[in-house]
């Protein structure tokens, strides 16, 4: 079969026809390339946009919602933060080190483009089973890439998650979230006022990453994926650091009127989006773009995804100031074009027009797709399958197995490779329920958590998505923070498959419903489709990035037991049958089936309020979310974090393994000084949260009553490296 150019670029025949009718003529090759990136799934959200519109996005603290570089939320009077998550899944599979590194770079520029200084990064990583042939290679490459890039740009990597699961064997997930603090004013991607000029600054433009958005992000991978390596960009963190500083100085000095980073889609993307948002046009003179190599074709310059570049819009008379600031930071900067009133993105080479396209057509007129959604026929069988709640004789052995499992073991080997302390804000770093970051120059802090329960969403995408939001909110609530805003990264298979589309639809519905009840605005995010290799899709994996607010950083609570003699209490109710999709089921019984745990959002919300109040009143010594592995794992984690054992005295009113390992949501494990108990009980009663005292902190064993595990043995199990030793 001979393929026409538009098909090779990933455009369908229908899309090609529409392009011809928009232009009134056949497109040039430059125009075709521009349409192919801007109308790719990755840039246009053509399969997902209609559904994403159902997410709640408003709230009194939301200063900027979806549609800009990042959402902006007011966390305290006069203090605003930008918060967003992005995926870099396919690039990380093709070239793990640079794929992950440039994933960090991209989200950091998104945050910077809002006029916010990046102050924290979190990563949600998923790989195939730890025994998989490529897993160690991919994990080491991804972690090394994040480490080398994030550390060098001086932004602390303060948290995240890393999960090993066969479903991600052929398609790892690398989702990176970034928090920024608005330093002076909120900047936006605008190209106002015809006669303003357009300045490109940062790295030179080269041939790397040509077609990354369309080639990598919007198609499935197959056995020949290594051939796509030239589409992965190469990162230069030194330049990124300078780009951050120069951008923030341009904003602080109120020199520029618009700023957008270059990521997927190269220059083409900010040029068309900024013009479209402002109702203007932009003319780009490609002769002015500083290139890394000679002989680049116009289309290559327009869609190159070379990293560490920004596009700024500035009044013509102030252009020299921009060039001066960039020169001071030793960055190349050139005036490459101007804002026009034509409504067109025009590309000029040697005085001749290489492209002339309505900006709005590129930015927002990709034909929306109403993809077919069909509930998978296998779902009923899966839900009827055993949920994995079979009892085991050796409960201590079960606990050790959970603590040592690749997903349950400590991720210390990962986060010790990340600078998690720079900027002097890390009140709580990796290893707890959520990171707590004090805002620069402020007493307030934010708590940040990422959660993406793929197994739950595989069993039940709607309930799984609700559980994901609830758990992420509970994570930040355990630190004493009030859950305040959500960013999300929705990782799915091929949306052209009706079953994938159905799960996507259900997940979005679950997130929307849960966020409405918990009053959490979704301020932005990212959709990553085509996470399939050789036809096998990943579990539907919505990664929820939760931001919580703590008015006083010194009130933050962590998971570690603090003092001998403190009482241990469970807040919330354990249901005997909440095993479906859980860690006990997977690790101990090798099962994935049945119904997922039942979530009651009224109980969930009451728990969050109680935790926030208890932290503000300084009643708690520790608080820890109950999730994977249930009560037993939470107890062990709090003990290991504080290097203090415990003795349980409570008698379970159900089979022991259910009491210990059931994963009912809306629960937290707390420890507190004995004299605080009555006060805590009263506060809990007022909010309708059940309190069960379990026992006491102390000693060097995890004493569950019916069995014991030495604290040292638990810690040794927890330190198990997923690959046996550092890769």
């Amino acid at each position: 079969m001979t393929t026409s150019p538009h098909r090779e670029l990933g455009l369908t025949d229908e899309e090609h026809d529409l392009i011809v009718s928009i232009l009134g003529r056949p497109p040039t090759i430059t125009e075709l390339a521009m349409f192919s990136v801007m109308w790719s799934e990755h840039c246009s959200y053509k399969s997902s946009r209609a559904l994403l519109a159902t997410l709640p996005t408003e709230g009194e603290s939301v200063l900027v919602g979806p549609g800009e570089g990042a959402g902006v939320i007011e966390v305290a009077p006069g203090q605003a933060v930008a918060w967003k998550i992005e995926s870099h899944n396919h690039p990380s599979f093709v070239e793990p080190h640079n794929g992950a590194a440039t994933g960090v770079g991209g989200i950091v520029r998104d945050i910077t483009s809002m006029g916010a200084r990046p102050i924290a990064l979190l990563d949600s990583l998923r790989f195939g089973s730890a025994e998989g042939t490529r897993t160690a290679y991919l994990a080491a490459g991804v972690v090394g890439g994040i480490s080398s890039y994030g550390n060098a740009i001086g932004v602390p990597t303060v948290g995240g998650e890393c999960i090993f699961e066969p479903s991600y064997e052929g398609n790892p997930l690398v989702n990176v979230a970034c928090l920024g603090m608005v330093e002076t004013e909120i900047m936006r991607g605008r190209a106002d006022n015809p006669s303003n000029v357009v300045i490109l600054f940062g790295s030179a433009t080269g041939r790397d990453g040509i077609g990354g958005a369309s080639v990598l992000a919007s198609a499935e991978l197959g056995p020949d994926s290594a051939d796509k390596r030239p589409s992965v960009q190469v990162g230069d963190p030194l330049t990124e650091k300078l780009v951050i500083e120069a951008s923030l100085e341009l904003v602080a000095k109120s020199i520029i009127s618009g700023l957008q980073d270059l990521g997927a889609g190269g220059i083409c993307c900010p040029a068309s989006e900024m013009a479209a948002k402002s109702g203007t046009g932009i003319r780009i003179d490609l002769d002015a773009v500083h290139l890394r190599e000679p002989g680049m074709a116009p289309f290559e310059i327009m869609i190159s995804e070379s990293q560490e570049r920004m596009l700024a819009v500035v009044a013509a008379e102030r252009a020299p100031e921009v060039l001066d600031v960039c020169r001071a930071w030793e960055l190349e900067a050139r005036v490459v074009g101007e804002v026009t009133d034509s409504g067109l993105v025009e590309v000029v080479v040697s005085g001749a027009t290489a492209a002339s396209i309505p900006a709005a057509a590129l930015a927002s007129q990709a034909p929306l797709l109403r993809r077919e959604a069909v509930r998978p026929v296998w779902l009923d069988d899966l839900r009827a399958a055993p949920c994995g709640d079979a009892p085991q004789e050796d409960l201590g052995g079960c606990l050790l197995a959970l603590l040592a499992s690749p997903g349950g073991a400590s991720a210390r080997w990962i986060w010790e490779q990340y600078d998690h302390m720079i900027l002097l804000g890390t009140v709580q770093g990796p290893g707890g329920d959520a990171a707590v970051i004090r805002l620069p120059g402020s007493a307030a802090a934010v708590a940040l958590s990422l959660d993406g329960p793929g197994r739950l969403c595989h069993l039940d995408p709607y309930e799984g998505a609700r559980l994901a939001v609830a758990e992420a909110a509970r994570n930040v609530a355990c630190t004493g923070a009030r859950p305040a805003a959500v960013t999300n990264c929705l990782n799915f298979g091929n949306p052209e498959k009706p079953e994938v589309m159905w799960s996507f639809q259900e997940v979005v519905r679950g997130i929307a419903d849960c966020c409405r009840v918990l009053r959490l605005p979704v301020t932005g995010g990212n959709v990553s489709f085509y996470n399939e290799t050789s036809g096998r899709a990943i579990h539907p994996t919505p990664v929820i990035g939760m931001l919580g607010v703590l008015q006083d950083a010194t009130a933050a609570v962590d998971i570690a037991f603090k003092a001998e003699g403190d009482l241990i209490a469970l807040l919330g109710t354990t249901q005997a049958n909440d095993f479906g999709g859980g860690d006990y089921a997977a690790v101990v019984n090798g099962a994935l089936g049945g119904p997922v745990p039942h979530l009651d959002l009224q109980r969930e919300q009451a728990l969050h309020r109680l935790l926030a109040q208890a932290a503000a009143d300084r009643m708690l010594s520790s608080a820890h979310d109950l999730s994977g592995g249930g009560l037993a794992v939470a107890l062990a984690e709090s003990a290991m974090a504080g290097d203090l054992g415990f003795q349980l005295t409570a008698q379970p009113h159900m089979e022991s393994h259910r009491w210990l390992f059931s994963e009912s949501p809306s629960r937290a494990l707390v420890s507190l000084a004995p004299q605080e108990l009555d006060h805590q009980r009263a506060a809990a009663a007022a909010l309708g949260v059940p309190v069960t005292t379990l026992g006491e902190v102390g000693g060097d064993t995890l004493d569950f009553g019916a069995f014991e595990v030495a604290l040292a043995d638990a810690a040794a199990a927890h330190d198990t490296h997923p690959f046996g030793a550092a890769p």
């Binding site: 090394g144 480490s147 080398s148 550390n151 060098a152 740009i153 001086g154 230069d236 963190p237 030194l238 650091k241 300078l242 001071a328 930071w329 030793e330 986060w415 010790e416 490779q417 990340y418 600078d419 998690h420 302390m421 720079i422 900027l423 002097l424 890390t426 009140v427 004090r438 950083a553 010194t554 550092a726």
Partner: protein, 224 residues
């Protein structure tokens, strides 16, 4: 009088703001000096902060030593002025020949960011005056190239002259003789891999870094 501190900033330096914040809190007046600056503007102490000067491309500190500001730093050190190089700053001082030896990749060949216990081995330096002899300090490390190395005769000299200012209690990176920080023979230049500026607040995990930085400021005051 107020101690004036110059914090040198190379392209890729990233701990300059943290150092400035902490030194100001300890009473110093701080100026950030871009690496092309040939003059220290009368600073009493010079701080070479952590980060990745010039991207650490080629070799850590190898390009930074050629920055114009380093001529001024060398002159300041020759005249007996106080210089502290933290992490990447230590690497730059070694490359510039202001301190002997070099820093190699960590024993485990991976980046390490975690807390360490560091013992003060010489409390008679301008940077350790406020420490007790043998006091241990809780300070974080954050580096890939932190394993100190030098030849045997240099090591013997360092020991003999009391130039080994700080040693790790539990060697994290394969550093020779557990060395975490050394001074030059005159004692006015200190290079250390741990980050004292990250340990100046109980909320962040430790206040022990204050011992080193406030000793430095007190010494500068005394000298003035």
């Amino acid at each position: 009088m107020t101690v004036r501190a110059a914090v040198a900033v190379f392209p890729g330096t990233n701990c300059e703001r943290d150092c400035a914040l902490v030194l100001e809190r300890l009473g110093a007046r701080v100026e950030l000096l871009w690496h092309t600056e040939p003059d220290l503007h009368g600073a009493d102490v010079v701080v070479l902060p952590g980060g990745f000067a010039h991207g650490d491309y080629l070799r850590t500190g190898a390009i930074a030593r050629f920055s114009p500001v380093m001529d001024a730093v060398s002159a300041h050190a020759r005249d007996g002025g106080l210089v502290i190089g933290i992490c990447n700053g230590f690497q730059v001082l070694c490359e510039a020949g202001l301190l002997p030896g070099a820093l190699r990749k960590n024993r485990g060949l991976s980046f390490l960011c975690h807390w360490t216990e560091v013992r003060v081995c010489n409390h008679a330096t301008p940077f350790t005056g406020r420490a007790e002899e043998g006091q241990t300090l809780k300070l974080p490390i954050n580096h890939f190239e932190g394993g100190y190395y030098c030849d045997e005769s240099t090591l013997a000299e360092l020991r003999e002259n009391g130039q080994v200012a700080l040693r790790y209690e539990h060697n994290p990176n394969g550093s020779l003789d557990d060395i975490a920080g050394i001074t030059n023979a005159a004692g006015n230049v200190l290079g250390l891999m741990p980050h004292p500026e990250r340990a100046c607040e109980a909320l962040l995990g430790s206040e022990d870094g204050v011992v080193l930085l406030s000793s430095m400021i007190a010494s500068a005051l005394q000298a003035a």
